[in-house]
Symmetry: C2
Subunit: 353 residues, 2 copies
């Protein structure tokens, strides 16, 4: 899984130089320009030789015979692997970012702003998803009678996230009954993981079906009505900065209309984004991950990369945040920004919980 690297020192230097200038200019880079730009005074011919080798080993491509070279996915992988990761954001950036999170209350709000901030500091699209993961724990529930057979269920999770849902139940409940049921759940299950909780309740309902326990019957009804599934539609997805995809100025991606349309459509399929992020961002991984070659999973995303990290608060994964941007982007800057925000996420929300 370690990315390949060119063998010689010279080759590596030149490859890096090519990628740098390609990222900067967006045009295929040729031997002459490179020889002029680069400090070490190599002649175009030499560079051509090296380039030829690099092309053979699969690091460079040419769009057509008589054009310059373009880095391949493999080249980008080498390029990001070689980034030290010790870079810091500029104070101005840090200031801008952290002030953007002034006064956020909950996870969703934070993630929403995250997608915005990410789109500002990168040349890509900012994406943040909240996953009401199975490891979410229950803090408590409320039930509130809205009208005949309509009940509002509010679930507060251990992390202080609130989800609500309106239930339509087969029979009417009084507020007293609802309170009793809520008290029962709160007293017995506070701190449980949601999925364990759900299976435990399902088990008890099953078991005590015969003896007609009034309380259990209420709970069964509420449960079947989806009271606890209230954590499920918590898959909030925030996408911002799609305007970066068109970016006429500064090194934006240069998509044609058709591809642009596909991208926009894909970015609106929230379910798809959730899958994409969860496929690539392992909950256990601590550091920012850079995925090059997104087209393997999502063909529409040819020439796009994902730079993301799970969003944790106090060790618990609450979602993930990422930038989806053109292969041609400032990797180091984006990586540091993503990592900085992830750290901020932990800090700010820990303080809240």
């Amino acid at each position: 899984m370690v990315p390949l690297a060119p063998k010689g020192l010279r080759e590596r230097e030149i490859l890096t130089a090519i990628i740098d200038t390609y990222i900067a200019t967006g045009e295929p880079v040729g031997s002459r320009t490179l020889s002029r730009t680069n400090k070490n005074g190599l002649s175009p011919a030499t560079i051509r030789n090296v380039m030829s080798d690099l092309a053979d080993s699969g690091f460079l491509d040419q769009p057509h015979t008589s054009a310059g070279r373009i880095p391949t996915a493999e080249a980008y992988r080498y390029y990001v692997a070689q980034i030290t990761g010790t870079a810091r954001l500029s104070p101005a950036d840090e200031e801008m970012i952290s002030s953007s999170f002034q006064g956020v209350g909950d996870v969703d709000e934070f993630l929403e702003r995250t997608s915005h901030v990410l789109s500002l500091v990168s040349s890509g699209v900012g994406v943040a998803v909240a996953i009401g993961g199975s490891k979410t724990t229950l803090d408590h529930v409320y039930f509130s009678r809205l009208s005949v057979q309509k009940v509002l269920a509010v679930v507060v999770t251990g992390a202080g996230v609130v989800r609500d849902r309106v239930l339509r139940l087969p029979r009417d409940f009084s507020q007293d009954e609802l309170d009793t049921a809520a008290r029962f759940i709160n007293e017995n299950f506070r701190g449980w993981a949601m999925d364990e909780l759900k299976s435990e309740i399902a088990r008890r309902i099953d078991q005590e079906r015969s003896e007609f326990d009034f309380l259990m019957e209420s709970i069964a009804q509420l449960y079947r009505g989806g009271a606890l599934a209230a954590d499920e539609p918590s898959q909030a997805v925030f996408v911002e900065g799609v305007a970066n995809l068109v970016a006429s100025e500064r090194g934006g991606s240069d998509l044609d209309k058709a591809r642009l349309g596909e991208m926009l459509r894909t970015l609106e399929e929230k379910q798809r984004l959730i899958e994409l992020l969860s496929a690539y961002l392992d909950a256990r991984q601590e550091t920012v991950r850079v995925v090059i070659g997104l087209e393997d999973t999502v063909p529409q995303m040819r020439n796009f990369v994902l730079i993301g990290v799970p969003a944790r608060v106090g060790g618990e994964v609450m979602g993930s945040l990422a930038v989806i941007g053109p292969t041609r982007m400032d990797y180091e800057h984006t990586i540091t920004a993503v990592s900085y925000i992830a750290r901020l996420f932990d800090q700010v929300l820990n303080e809240n919980a």
Copy 2:
């Protein structure tokens, strides 16, 4: 405010025909094509004369001297004014739309789907905003102690909308204190309009400041902490279908890159959208409004129209829903769709409340 209309019957017929074919083809329509397409067998020359008149009275424009004519904003205004409004959606559309709202629980969820559905049935962008208007009433509040000096406030409004907010308070409260405060508010203020409620509480706090009432002090703290402002950030904005802006096939808008970027950026400024909708959609108006000439307010939106209506449930305005699309769109269809969804909104959510 009544839109101008061409004087003669013939002129009106031809204008309508021109707009129809322009909407269909997207290209300036000339006299010859029109004479061929149109059933009434008028010669190109005649049509030219009429067109010339229409151009003089400001209904037609020519992009350049030797091209066909395109309708002006004034022409579109006439065109939509002349739509009867009696059209019905196709059964398939109705089915598709209403099934899209299967199982929605609350206003936000409905509005989110609305933006999606609108983008599907129109060739524009679906926009829906929730406005926690001042007429919102209080059903009840919950307070829940999260940790030291951190309290979760949940406000349930009369319409069954739930808003939550994490408060940081100057001193710690026990859950008992919180319960007492919540009970007090619920018993005294259920059914009040949020803004009246807020000023009443502010008044009482002011009044009873001297005598140190413990309960009132708690409530004051909670109030200042923003417990009741929980309805304020309720300005959810849902935008979907931006891919329609690029729409390579079928009569989509044909923006160049620069304009597209501006549009995308503008559509992401949620505050702006809220202003835009509230500027044009009067809470009192019952019917769908079509605003042609959006560029007067938002220059980036040249050649875009807004088709929207306030979203009511049982007479109370909960937000608004709209399509922002190119002037070249199927007005009748979009209008009926918007109106249909608005009706659905009332139905589905009334049933919930």
